[in-house]
């Protein structure tokens, strides 16, 4: 039908062609009419003042500071000054003036505005009147509440920490831009705060992380060692996940703490404290939700590993200075602090730290994630009895008994056979994992995908596409490689009988699409090809080494060697069929396999060549 040329309307042979043209004309006319309606005319075009102001904000940095790359997108783009551009009215314009000097330390939007609120100093109050300030505060609050994914990914503060980027190390500097693939190592006596979108990862001494995924709405870090506290703010549909070995911890709006240490009995042990809201855990032997106020411990790399242990957070943890300081910092930034509220910060029940509940940037001997400008205004101006401006969600009466609210259908629970679904966003595709349907009448699973939330429990269904299907009851995962970077997709798994009646339907889940990852340089030493390990366990099943005489080896035109984990090198294959002097080209790919198909997660940034001697 349409297989010849990429012309928008290829239907020369279709007798209805004139009708389609007429239809196009109708539609174009309707489009014009719709755009020219009065409401669209006024609302559909940007206010020139707005356009100019935004332009100024965006242009200023590159024009002003031609220096280092970090200056380029630096301070002038900081949240508060930016608000002045988009806000309107005198009250809002006041906000930047109220901030202490230029925002040299770029920080998260909500953090900046929280600081802004607190630092709107009393002299200013006197001059301008309380009313104006309230308006400014409300406006700033609205702006931040609405869309919190503006800031870039940067280093908030860093002491004695190292950035490893593309193989070379440099000191980690506050304000510098973070990139996917960066690895951060904090010295034993150091600490660092990473502003990742609107979220923060606060790294304790000894922590090591790698940034696997950074997008406007989703973040994935690998915690390679040590401890990190996470204050998570992501837009809906996005996610914030930490990978520790075979386990992935995912939150969508919460605070939690993860500690990865060598286990006394061998292997490694990771302990999660779910401080505010639950955290999803995903691993080889577990898939569920750790509710707020709980602690989960997993052990891996050890033959005695036995799934996670979940229980209440031990009371002793609430006197941990690391947690107390992080909770105080959170509170000063206006976040609810969940499980920590009762113990750590209650004014008359402060177990370990007997200091006043206001934020003290210096009180932690080991770690003060707050020695940056943002924290300083707070102690002077935030008596903690002032109601902290809690955005949106209520400060967490923990949802009492939540064993596993999300899919995690325990096959043993007898009531009604169900099917669950969980998704893993990987570079290059989405992995769908559903749970086994145990009821009778099963004919197949179908996982539907849609760009919208409204997937009903019917099949077939217009507006959806089948992302995976199988008639084999024990095949429980599939791959969807047809995703675009930055798009959100919704999925729902149905168990069907032979007549396409729905036996069970999973909840609708969403995942973000990502482009493929860059595996870095494929190098060759002598006859040994080697590459860096792609440390994103939940997205990596194997490596694939492609080689051919073609200078652009693809799966289609090459021979593929499957390299099982964790090997990251392989010798040049024997020259069967190739003579001396032949040049062979190599490319390495990271591949995620599922029960139903696989996809390429990333590939080497270069194509390595080798000439047979």
């Amino acid at each position: 039908m349409v297989n010849t040329a990429p012309v928008p309307f290829d239907r020369a042979s279709d007798p209805n062609a004139p009708a389609y043209d007429a239809l196009s004309a109708d539609l174009a006319a309707a489009g014009r009419r719709a755009r020219n309606r009065k409401a669209q005319l006024t609302n559909g075009r940007p206010d020139p003042a707005y356009a100019e102001a935004l332009r100024g904000r965006l242009m200023q940095p590159a024009g002003g500071a031609a220096g280092g790359s970090q200056a380029v997108a630096g301070a002038p783009l900081a949240a508060a000054s930016y608000q002045a551009a988009s806000g309107r009215g005198a009250a809002v314009v006041l906000a930047p003036d109220a901030l202490p000097g230029p925002l040299t330390r770029p920080r998260s939007r909500s953090e900046a505005s929280a600081a802004g609120r607190k630092t709107a100093s009393r002299p200013l109050l006197a001059v301008l009147g309380i009313g104006a300030l309230i308006v400014a505060v409300l406006a700033a609050g609205l702006v931040t509440g609405r869309f919190a994914s503006l800031p870039a990914n940067r280093v908030g503060e860093a002491v004695n920490a190292t950035l490893v980027r593309t193989g070379s190390s440099q000191p980690l500097l506050a304000g510098s831009l973070l990139m996917v693939g960066d690895e951060i190592r904090v010295g034993a006596d150091g600490h660092a705060t990473l502003d990742l979108g609107s979220s923060q990862a606060r790294l304790a001494g000894g922590a090591e992380v790698r940034l696997n995924i950074l997008s406007s709405s989703s973040v994935q870090l690998a915690l390679l060692a040590g401890r990190a506290y996470h204050r998570v703010v992501v837009p809906t549909g996005g996610s914030y996940a930490i990978v520790t070995g075979p386990y992935t911890w995912t939150a969508t709006g919460t605070a939690f703490d993860l500690d990865r240490v060598p286990a006394p009995t061998g292997g490694e042990q990771v302990t999660l404290l779910a401080l505010e809201h639950g955290v999803a855990i995903d691993g080889p032997d577990v898939h569920g939700q750790v509710p707020e106020g709980s602690s989960a411990t997993v052990l891996f790399g050890n033959p005695t590993s036995t799934g996670p242990t979940i229980g209440p957070i031990p009371p002793t943890d609430f006197s941990d200075p690391w947690l107390i300081n992080n909770a105080r910092l959170d509170e000063s930034l206006g976040y609810p602090i969940g499980a920590l509220a009762q113990v750590a910060l209650a004014p008359n029940d402060t177990p370990a730290a007997s200091t006043s509940p206001s934020l003290g940037p210096t009180e932690s001997p080991s770690e003060s994630p707050t020695d940056s400008p943002s924290a300083e205004p707070s102690p002077s101006d935030s008596p903690s009895d002032g109601p902290s401006p809690t955005p949106g969600l209520t400060p967490s009466p923990s949802p009492s008994a939540v064993a596993s609210p999300s899919p995690t259908p325990t096959p043993t629970s007898t009531a009604q056979p169900t099917v669950g679904l969980s998704l893993t966003s990987c570079p290059g595709g989405v992995v769908m994992t559903w749970s086994k349907y145990t009821g009778t009448g099963f004919a197949r699973y179908v996982t539907l995908r849609s760009a919208n939330l409204g997937i009903s429990a019917t099949y077939p269904q217009a507006g959806t596409l089948v992302a995976a299907t199988t008639t084999i009851r024990t095949r429980l995962s599939g791959a969807d490689a047809g995703v675009s970077d930055g798009s959100t997709y919704f999925y729902r798994t149905l168990a069907l009988d032979a007549a396409n009646n729905v036996l069970a339907a999973s909840p609708t889940r969403s995942a973000l699409g990502y482009g493929q990852a860059d595996l870095g340089f494929l190098s060759i030493t002598g006859t040994l090809l080697s590459w860096l390990h792609y440390d994103n366990a939940s997205c990596l099943s194997e490596y694939r080494l492609l080689y051919s005489l073609n200078s652009d080896p693809t799966l289609a035109n090459s021979t593929a060697v499957i390299v099982t984990l964790p090997t990251t090198n392989v010798s040049v294959p024997a020259a069967t069929g190739w003579s001396s002097g032949s040049t062979i080209y190599f490319r390495v790919q990271a591949v995620r396999t599922t029960a139903l198909g696989s996809f390429v997660v990333g590939q080497s940034s270069n194509i390595q060549s080798y000439t047979y001697p």
């Binding site: 349409v2 990429p6 309307f9 290829d10 239907r11 209805n16 389609y20 239809l23 539609l27 006319a29 309707a30 489009g31 719709a34 755009r35 309606r37 669209q40 609302n43 559909g44 075009r45 940007p46 206010d47 707005y50 935004l54 332009r55 965006l58 940095p61 590159a62 024009g63 930016y82 988009s86 509440g145 869309f147 503006l150 831009l177 996917v180 406007s216 709405s217 837009p235 809906t236 996005g238 939150a251 969508t252 919460t254 809201h277 939700q289 760009a451 939330l453 409204g454 997937i455 009903s456 217009a462 507006g463 959806t464 675009s484 930055g486 798009s487 959100t488 609708t508 889940r509 482009g515």
Partner: protein
């Protein structure tokens, strides 16, 4: 914008503010209009548009833009920003709803008109034939989207390809199918009525 010129500007814009400025001047009204047609509220449209360009600038400067045709990419970022925002605001209303609740089965019923649906409603209202309006409603979601993007948002072919993440050939097929489906729905409807 001429794709060649755009490619050059995207490369230059990594270091050159003027180059970014040119891209900005060309795309701001377009992206703003796209957003405004979907969110209605001016302040919100301004915020979201600012987000899009800010992200655009950051991505260009970081050198991580995977395409040198930025137009379609900007629309895509805008579309997901709109969805994010809509979900966020719908979620803010009922107190106590936690992020982990969002994916519950009945979450889909909470969702009012979002993004594309707003645009579709506005566009459908401007259609002068009832049967065309009804036919629009019978298109699949992707078909409707492509019609809206092309005829209401006036995306160029290059922008459509970028926004939908498809090749020109695939785009042509999809567009063609959408028109066929629409034509078929109109024809079917009127013959029933007659």
């Amino acid at each position: 914008m001429d794709p060649e010129r755009e490619r050059g500007l995207v490369v230059k814009a990594r270091l050159d503010a003027q180059a970014f400025g040119e891209l900005y001047d060309y795309y701001l009204p377009r992206v703003y209009g796209f957003v405004a047609r979907r969110v209605g509220d001016r302040t919100l449209a301004e915020e979201l548009t600012a987000t899009v360009f800010r992200r655009g600038l950051e991505t260009i400067q970081a050198g991580t833009l995977r395409t040198e045709v930025i137009g379609g990419w900007l629309y895509r970022v805008a579309a997901s920003a709109i969805v994010d925002q809509a979900q966020r605001s719908s979620q803010e209303l009922p107190a106590g709803i936690r992020a982990s609740d969002l994916a519950e089965p009945d979450a889909e019923r909470r969702e009012p008109l979002v993004g594309d649906e707003v645009a579709t409603t506005a566009f459908a209202a401007a259609l002068d034939r009832d049967e065309l309006r009804r036919a629009m409603a019978r298109l699949t979601e992707p078909q409707r989207r492509i019609v809206i993007l092309k005829f209401f948002d006036e995306l160029s072919t290059a922008e459509l390809c970028g926004a939908l993440g498809v090749s020109p050939a695939t785009l042509a097929v999809r567009l063609d199918r959408a028109l066929r489906a629409l034509h078929l729905a109109v024809a079917g409807k009127s013959s029933h009525a007659a």
